[in-house]
């Protein structure tokens, strides 16, 4: 773990966004479960928990801009490329399996989980090929 100043700022942003995510999600789940949310407002409440997740992606982009250590930045870019490649590959394979009726439909937000797994795979690849796992 390197803990560059930019990485620390990223971590703080993620912590705050995660708290915001919980603050949006828990009332939304409760509200939908007990049918407390009226009409069109349901769309707003349903989308609210997605916003902090989008914010985390933006925070990652901000981190890449703020990171002053070019080598560490390159390691993260490699991880992001692995994460994106793994996610797109998984979505493609699942899409074909789904089309031929071999698997069930999957919720779209699972792709975010796959993406973060891909980020971990990218870190392992960095460790294996460059001997460094980045932040």
């Amino acid at each position: 773990m390197l803990g560059t100043p930019a990485w620390k700022r990223y971590n703080w942003r993620v912590i705050w966004l995660s708290l915001l995510y919980a603050a949006f999600l828990l009332p939304a789940v409760y509200g939908f479960k007990h049918a407390l949310i009226p009409g069109g407002f349901r769309y707003v409440v349903a989308v609210l928990p997605a916003l902090p997740i989008i914010g985390i992606f933006a925070a990652l982009g901000r981190y890449l801009v703020e990171e002053q250590d070019e080598y560490v930045r390159m390691l993260m870019v490699r991880q992001i490329l692995w994460a994106s490649g793994v996610t797109l590959s998984f979505a493609t394979v699942w899409g074909f399996l789904d089309n031929f009726g071999l698997v069930d439909h999957a919720d779209g937000y699972w792709l975010i989980m796959i993406w973060y797994i891909g980020l971990g795979i990218g870190g392992m690849v960095n460790k294996l090929t460059l001997g460094a796992s980045g932040c």
Partner: protein, 71 residues
């Protein structure tokens, strides 16, 4: 890229961490450059050259010159 960074650092009794702090990069970066796993950007290469008060080409071996020397 082949370079003399490790030798120059050793001549000054600097650890990788010492050099990293002087260059304002991580120790991992210094290690990656020393071992040739990572080629620094031109601005970082200039910072390294200015730190050692040497021209860049006396620290980093040009890949084209290296291949012509091998011939």
């Amino acid at each position: 890229m082949e370079n003399r960074l490790r030798i120059l650092r050793a001549e000054r009794n600097w650890s990788q961490q010492d050099l990293a702090e002087r260059l304002e990069v991580s120790r991992q970066s210094v290690n990656a450059i020393e071992t040739g796993k990572y080629d620094p950007s031109l601005p970082l290469a200039f910072r390294i050259a200015e730190l050692f008060t040497m021209p860049i080409e006396e620290i980093f071996v040009s890949p084209s010159r290296r291949s012509s020397a091998a011939i």
